[in-house]
């Protein structure tokens, strides 16, 4: 659910999800495990190979994506690809029911942790052979550093990185200048800049943790990672109550106590957050790579990405979400799935060069294109933030695993974040409650 945070489409999706949720809960009595799965349908729906992709960008994204898919000409004996757009509204239910009944896709994108959920159910076809073949055609080496490793689980590679969702620090150049504040480089200088912004009635820790907005919990985790901490140990077990995490959350609580955090952040939706940026009430804050384009208007030109902060112990780090594409065991041809993905990755550059609104690219060759290089903020994120970013699995491991679904957009994380942002508990108390929730 990492991708839920900050794209323009997300607020719409939030509403759709919620509206769908109303019906879903009314029908709770009929929900639940599919319990068997049945047999029959294939990921190809017969002789073709189903590719399900999400609306990752603006309105032009899926038509472009469909065009790429339909231009695929399979080798003799391999199935052609059929494109289907899947809406974010209730996507978990959409995929779960389709996969459980063997009527799902052969290849799909989806939620950031979806592959690991289905991998644990034995529904994922590992990408090891595909990645091995990509070592010969240059695709493997084209991925940004460390990305492919985030997909490796015990059985193999559960998915392939597709687009990056990053959490970075933004600031308003005009407001910082007006406040006479220096760009922060570490936590003490962040506090100093926040003090100056407060003097002009502007908040320095702009973030939202309200309904459907998970950015707040992402940023809490980012600060833990920035301090060498995180939520899981090397055994993939929740390990929240650590000195580094307590220190990080104490820093956030200090920001709250000093009035550098908008008290409304606790229940701000993504729209509310963008309104605060637009109204120049946020001078600094944390969001995804698409913040400036989502805010739009005159303010967009004033927004810039800051360099990563250095924590009190000399660490750098942030949370990122390598959204991915996965292959399913239910396919008309595994060879066909791999052949299609090879074609797709070799031809998907236009999704970025034509600015369809998709997240950051996973391939260096795309990041090097003149079209991408024209966006200074995006370039800065790829150059400075991507190399230091880690997944939910930090600090114990690089690769994602099933257990991260316990923290990705879950009520436990929302409650924890709201507790910290409202200053309702000490750092240790909040982390202890989170630990208990994750263990329970």
């Amino acid at each position: 659910m990492s991708q839920r945070a900050s794209k323009a489409t997300l607020s719409r999706r939030g509403f759709l999800t919620a509206a769908g949720g109303a019906a879903a809960v009314s029908a709770l009595t009929a929900c639940g495990g599919a319990g068997g799965g049945g047999n029959g349908g294939s990921g190809g729906g017969g002789d073709s190979l189903k590719f399900w992709n999400m609306p990752w960008g603006g309105t032009e994204f899926n038509p472009s994506d469909k065009e790429i898919t339909e231009a695929y000409e399979p080798a003799d004996g391999l199935p052609p690809a059929v494109y289907q757009e899947i809406q974010w509204a209730n996507f978990t239910q959409t995929f779960s029911s389709a996969v459980a009944s063997n009527t799902g896709p052969a290849v799909s994108s989806g939620g950031g942790t979806q592959a690991f959920l289905f991998e644990s159910q034995g529904k994922i076809a590992y990408a090891d052979n595909l990645l091995e073949s990509w070592k010969e055609n240059g695709l493997y080496d084209d991925f940004l550093p460390g990305l492919i490793d985030t997909m490796k689980v015990e059985g193999g590679y559960a998915a392939i990185p597709y687009n990056l969702d990053m959490r970075v620090m933004w600031y308003n150049t005009t407001l910082l200048e007006q406040a006479g504040a220096e760009l922060p480089t570490d936590w003490p200088s962040y506090l100093a800049a926040a003090e100056k912004l407060k003097a002009i009635d502007v908040y320095a820790f702009g973030v939202g943790a309200g309904s459907g907005s998970f950015t707040g919990s992402h940023i809490m985790t980012s600060f833990m990672i920035n301090n060498g901490g995180g939520l899981f140990n090397a055994d993939h077990e929740p390990d929240c109550v650590t000195d580094r995490n307590i220190e990080a959350m104490e820093f956030v609580l200090e920001m709250v106590a000093k009035g550098y955090v908008d008290p409304g952040s606790v229940t701000y939706t993504s729209d509310n957050v963008q309104t605060q940026w637009k109204d120049r009430r946020f001078g600094m804050g944390w969001d995804g790579a698409g913040l400036a384009s989502n805010v739009g208007g005159d303010v967009a030109a004033e927004l810039a990405v800051n360099s990563p902060l250095t924590g009190p112990n000399g660490d750098q780090g942030a949370l990122h979400f390598p959204n991915n594409i996965m292959m399913y065991t239910n396919t008309p041809s595994q060879e066909g799935s791999e052949a299609f993905l090879t074609y797709y990755y070799q031809n998907m550059a236009s999704l970025w060069t034509e600015h369809t609104g998709i997240g950051l690219p996973p391939l260096k060759s795309i990041a090097d294109t003149p079209e991408f290089q024209s966006d200074a903020n995006a370039v800065k994120i790829i150059d400075e933030w991507q190399p230091i970013s880690k997944t939910w699995a930090a600090p114990g491991s690089e690769a994602l695993f099933l257990g991260v679904t316990d923290v990705d957009g879950t009520p436990a994380m929302s409650t924890f974040t709201q507790t910290v942002l409202s200053g309702a508990a000490t750092a240790e108390e909040a982390l202890t409650t989170l630990q208990q929730a994750l263990e329970g």
Partner: protein, 320 residues
Amino acid sequence: MSTETIARSLRRARSGVGVAGSGRPPDARPRRLWTPRTITMAALVLPSIILVLLLNAYPVLYAGVQSIRDGDLISAGNIVGLANYESVLTDPVFWQAARFTLVFTLVGVFGSWAMGMSLALLLRRRVPAGGVFKVLLLLPWVVPVVVSATSWNWLVATPQSPLPILAEALGFGRVLFLANPLLAQITVCVFKVWISFPFMMMMMSAALASVDNNVYEAARVDGASGAQLLRTMTLPLTAKSTYISWILMTIFCVNDFPTVFLLTGGGPVNATQTLVVQAYRTVFLDFETGPGVAIAFLMTIVLVVISVVLYRRVRKVDIE
């Protein structure tokens, strides 16, 4: 004839005893259950019964099974007995949600009823453009809740929203309608009353329309005041509609997902989380089907009990 006498007579009549008599009626004979006629009739209604069972009973039974399993959205999981119910009932978050659901429902039912009844009484009088008023007053009920929740969010969410600006101008300082737990609860309840009162207004308008005006005229001639009219005439005469509207609104409130989820998502820190929101989050965000369905089941049981109690009141009103 007193109410008690009437009720006793009705009970006797139902059991086949004459109003003034005692014992079995003289022509009472044991009836055969399975006659060709009853078999034919049973055969004719059987498809409908099967359909109803498939539509209603099967999902409930299936969900009942889910509530005693430890499955998720993909797999059915293993049977764990009543462990899901135990974990739900020992979770403080569940009881917090239950408390707020109770408050939300009480305020939603009685707040919207009071407002709806008041407006129904007001609109009973002939006022210029009364029809236009009625249509305008219906808007909160007619507008999709997604739209009205968005509007309310715009009204209250940020310090630059209209209501916080108004509150500040009136000297209340910077009011955080959604970020402060108590204010968020109040805001959600007020929002619920706002979107629900038109329904109550319509129900009570219909009930009032069925009351003969001559009754009021007679009472006025006897010197009854407005308050006396309301207490001794209007409320008893509309009691049946009132109880039915309470039953319906109780069900609407307990099952109301979008109002809370769209406005606050259950926050801050679970302050506005209702049971239905908790059930949704448990199933679709935590992927824990068993406890989520267990919560839904517990809600259903409580709703059935409340509905039965209120329905008995309706029947009592019928008899009286």
